[in-house]
Amino acid sequence: MKILLVEDDATTTEYVVKGFTEQGHNIETASDGHQGLLLATSMSYDLIVLDRMLPQLDGLKLLAALRATGDQTPVLILSALSHVDERVKGLRAGGDDYMTKPFAFSELLVRAEKLMQRGNSLPAHTELSVGNLVMELLTRKVTLGGTEILLQPKEFQLLKYLMEHPNQVISRTLLFEAVWDYHFDPRTNVIDVHIAKLRRKFEELGFGELIETVRGAGYRLRQGH
């Protein structure tokens, strides 16, 4: 996948470029708004990662200019402004997702991949399977090693999100957004509590290790043993 990063901070640029390159993506960079707009309009990208505050041309203005040309490339906005209203402004200007700095690359990757997938319409899954864990989306039936487990709605949504991103570290913020659709940092263990309940159900079947806690980062669903 081809990604354009418009970011003026060298450290962040290096961090993001290294991350995406390691994941096998092709990434190009622009360090100011004008250069960014020039690249974005002259080349075709699968995703644009855009800093909110840029020299010469502000990120939101760049975005508005890009959208005015009819370009619908998914745009993920990075910003040091964390307020809810800033997020709303970013999405209104035509952004597809909004992330606050500082961020963990793992979270950026999950969001970026989700946006890039949206472009190429994959056939809708009716079943998810990770290792010996199988989830039927229509009947909401979940089996682990052939045994059905009963999940509450929120547990089901949590597990679904983890199964959609196997072997990836998923931050609590991502899970919180995915399951509850509320955009704020809960600063609470609400996610941990739900994960703990899910894990206990797996433990009963002898698969307690399936959901791994990554300290300081979030959770990861292991694909095998």
Binding site: S82, H83, K154, F184, T188, V193, R215, G216, A217
Partner: protein, 408 residues
């Protein structure tokens, strides 16, 4: 006034001359030639100067008769020379035709002219005096104003240097300057209050950010000595500490923005019943973990115009606190009734004297600050509720705490 006086003089002169004209015409008709000459010779020069050109010579007060004088009532000014101190006089006069020949009747107008000159002089003097007096008074007055401005300037410089308790003097006069000074003082009062509030919070901020920051510093210093297999864990711990600092920092920024109304709210109709069932759904598992019983009761829905995320954040914070502090096995209730929501528990509660303090920034009732949290939660809750025109009160649940939120 000068012009009026001038006109008046002209009018008087003309009337006078007209009267004299009539008198001499009458005299010429009634008197014989000699008597007429006598009358002319003995005419009082104060009333009029009269000259008669008889067949032989000029008879009368003047030794000459200027040519081309108009017939009365038309008049003309003409100069004459006399032997007196004022050598040149201006006369006004005109001709009258009588039985015995032409008679010139004239009157001195320069006396009246002198009067006018005097008047003009007096007026100029008065004007000059007025100007001088005005200038002097204005100078004194402006000097007094200037002195006040200089004083304001000096005091402002002291405030600029950091003496925030300085105030501008307000006099009894209550003039524009006093109003300005009063306004300025009120602004200073607000600023000083805010500054003090910030100063008061600084110690707490220092404590709240310094502790995790010093943990970070220690951790980073020790990283090079870690064995490779310990590195992941050590880095994760440091990241958590850093995230805690960031959370505190973010919370402080949001609090300021919400309190000062800088954050624009995304208002939309929100059902309180829906809000409470969302709350219940999210908090249920947490209560379960603490072996607590979470109860939800709703009755008579109420719709508020609210920023969904912010309001939910505020309510969630309150429920989260109740679960955190009520202790194991407690019962926590969320009750919604119309425009009122109560969140209550049967835990240890908060002593009445501390109930107002909990809303202050960075105040924690646990002095050792062992509980993890930003210490800004309740300040944030209060600020959010205020922006939604809701009130919050803490009460005694006997035992425990009961929080009542009322929307208007």
């Amino acid at each position: 006034m000068y012009r009026q006086l001038n006109n008046e003089q002209e009018l008087q002169t003309n009337q006078h001359l007209a009267a004299e004209k009539a008198r001499y015409q009458q005299m010429a008709l009634t008197l014989d030639r000699r008597s007429f000459a006598t009358q002319i010779r003995t005419a009082d020069p104060k009333t009029a100067l009269v000259v008669w050109r008889s067949s032989l010579d000029l008879i009368g007060a003047l030794s000459m008769m200027p040519d081309d004088m108009p017939m009365l009532p038309e008049t003309r000014d003409f100069p004459i020379l006399t032997g007196g101190p004022d050598k040149l006089h201006i006369l006004t006069g005109g001709m009258v035709l009588t039985r015995y020949g032409p008679v010139l009747i004239a009157t001195r107008t320069d006396q009246l002219g002198t009067l006018i000159d005097r008047f003009v002089n007096a007026a100029i003097t008065a004007l000059m005096l007025t100007i001088v007096l005005t200038l002097a008074l204005g100078y004194l007055f402006s000097k007094a104003i200037l002195r006040r401005l200089v004083q304001y300037n000096r005091l402002s410089r002291r405030i600029e240097k950091g003496e925030y308790s300085t105030r501008l003097p307000v006099s009894w006069r209550q003039d524009e300057f006093d109003m300005l000074a009063g306004k300025f003082n009120r602004v200073l009062d607000t600023l000083e209050n805010n500054l003090n509030a910030v100063r008061g919070a600084t110690d707490n901020i220092a404590h709240d950010l310094r502790t995790p920051l010093s943990h970070l510093r220690i951790g980073l210093e020790q990283l090079p000595q870690k064995r490779p297999e310990e590195l992941d864990e050590a880095c994760a711990i440091l990241t958590e500490e850093l995230d805690h600092c960031l959370a505190t920092f973010d919370a402080m920024l949001s609090l300021t923005r919400i309190e000062e109304g800088q954050q624009t709210l995304e208002l939309q109709p929100l059902s309180l019943q829906q809000l409470c069932s969302d709350l219940y759904e999210m908090a249920e598992a947490m209560a379960e973990l603490n072996e607590q019983q979470l109860v939800l009761k709703t009755d008579e829905d109420f719709t508020v115009m609210a920023d969904k995320y912010l309001l939910f954040q505020a309510f969630f914070n309150l429920v989260d606190n109740a679960i955190k502090y009520a202790g194991e096995g407690a019962k926590v209730s969320i009750v919604q009734q119309g425009n009122q929501v109560t969140i209550s528990d049967n835990g240890p509660g908060i002593p009445a004297e501390d109930r107002d303090k909990v809303f202050d920034r960075l105040v924690r009732l646990d002095p050792s600050r062992h509980n993890k949290g930003t210490g800004l939660g309740l300040s944030l809750v209060k600020a959010i509720l205020q922006r939604h025109n809701a009130t919050i009160t803490l009460g005694d649940n006997q035992p425990g705490l009961i929080i009542t939120i009322t929307f208007s």
